[in-house]
Amino acid sequence: MKFWTTRIVSFIIGIGGCFVIDLLSHRFVGSYEQRLVVLAGLYVTLAVSLNLINGITGQFSIGHAAFYQIGAYTAGYVSRTYITMGGHNPPAIPWLLGMMVLGAIAASIAGFVVGLPSLRLRGDYLAIVTLGFGEIIRILVQNTDALGGSYALDKIPKIQPIWLVWLLAIVCIAVCRNLIKTARGLTFLAVREDEVASSAMGVDVTSVKVTAFIIGSAFAGAAGALLAHYEGLITPTTFTMDVSFIILTMVVLGGTGSITGSAVAAIFLSYLPEYLRGLKTSAGEPLVVSGAAVIAGLAAVVVGVAFIKRILDSGRGTPRSRALKYLGIAVGVVILEPIISFALHPIKPLSSMSIEAGQLRMVIFAATLIVLMLLRPEGVFAHHEFSWSWVRKLFGKRPVPQAEVAA
């Protein structure tokens, strides 16, 4: 009974949430912010689906943008041919749903093809193959005139339901979460942990790997179909290696294997660059920082990390005293930055160089990752997941221990 209550509540919150996001973004913000909401939703889908391949099944794939691209171009091309060129006028939402399915099928066929070498390759070798695959797809599209070549595949009919973008993200999260809650999902984790032992326990390692690739790429393909119809025009440059790496960064930052982590990191990392770009001085100009300030910031962070690392390694102190120390270090870093910046001021090339804050996003991405790898290599969320019992714990109610064992 309690199971069904939780399930129905989650259902309502999930679907309701999609429409609330849709409503809010249509009523209160402009088209620029709406686009951000859409992109964040797509990135959540991409990160969570890559997490299924990378984090849960342990197959190191870094060509996820290729599946995104295949979905986008397949759906975009068919839509353009049938609606814009053919002059048909089908109902928008069912058509888009159909295109999502089509994009998903196309991408999952590609996922199957890429999944096959993963039966023989491990770790770095698989990473190289998937990276190569991603580039092959992009260059193939770039040189196919029917798909717009290196310009763009344009005149795709615009269908822009924001709720559907987030519904896809939620379905993707739900599917992955359902999987790891069942015994079947545990076999995926088992393959990640030890292939030899898995197969000795009767796990069909081949089918597990291929299944992970097919499901993961299908979601990326569906996301691609949504993107194509949202933008109305797609170019090969939308799907470069950068995109694959950003999705991978989301997975690693959130905690490899954690669905919650991937989703939260996807939202965070898709907003961060826009936030930086939006930073303005009080006069309304884009915020510009000097080279000295950037270097000083990095140096201050390095010092902070060194101190935190010492505390982590010593492993002493109560949680409270540690928290105070961390706070002290954070304050120290903020104080240290202008001091170092001032010290660097006499160096002409540094102080005269000016950089727009928006352009610093790659530096901040890289710095965040390095700091994370030093202090918490397992990612922000590590293996933890959001759950209702966790919420209950947060509000002070202790969950029943027996229920945990049985559930």
């Binding site: 069942t182 076999t187 984790l189 088992a190 326990m201 064992v405």
Partner: protein, 254 residues
Amino acid sequence: MSLLELQQATIRFGGLVAVNAVSFALNEGDLFGLIGPNGAGKTTCFNMITGVYEPTSGKIIFQGKDISGTPPSKIAKLGISRTFQNIRLFNSLSVLENVVVGGFLRHRTGLMSALAYLSGSIAETALLKEKALELLEELDLLEVANVRSADLPYGRQRRLEIARAMATQPKLLLLDEPAAGMNPQEKQELQDMVRKIRDNHGMTVLLIEHDMRFVMGLCERIVVLDHGEEIAQGPPETIRKDPKVIAAYLGQAV
């Protein structure tokens, strides 16, 4: 009819003959020992039986069918399960989850049911967990059911490997050096445990072990390998006195 029979099983790695024309047969309910000095080919034998390697020549007959060259996951489904000499647990999974993975090969629900979290899949998972808990209780691991398996002490990790193998409900259980790294008391407990597994679950046990006292005290029949060749076979009393076995372990008298 014997449960498992090796007929002239041979495997070559390039020029090296790791196992040469080894033949032995296990009857249902046997407690069978496979011993020999280091590098004798014992684990290679296990790897042939469980499908990790395909024998170069010879046959491996399980329940009347030739299983040589069958992939490991299929062999596990046929009813042969094993533990590993260098422990291979699913480290970041909990003790309970390790055993559930072992039990999963007797599943019936499909992938879609798991993805949609349908009742069939939920019920199956709950059932597997229940069975896993029973096994953990039997092997005295219940109190650590929710501990990450990598965090267990060595002796318990070995026992967990046995629990995980038993979860696949095998007819034949292969134990690769189950007593390695255990103290005398733990070894005694393990002996009793293995005997109980045979008596209560009707599993046939084939084990590799270096500790002679352990093997002689537990196994009813023993086969001895040396340099990939079978040099003796029989009950512990005859093996103990066999001059070839003594020579293999202690060296030839000059």
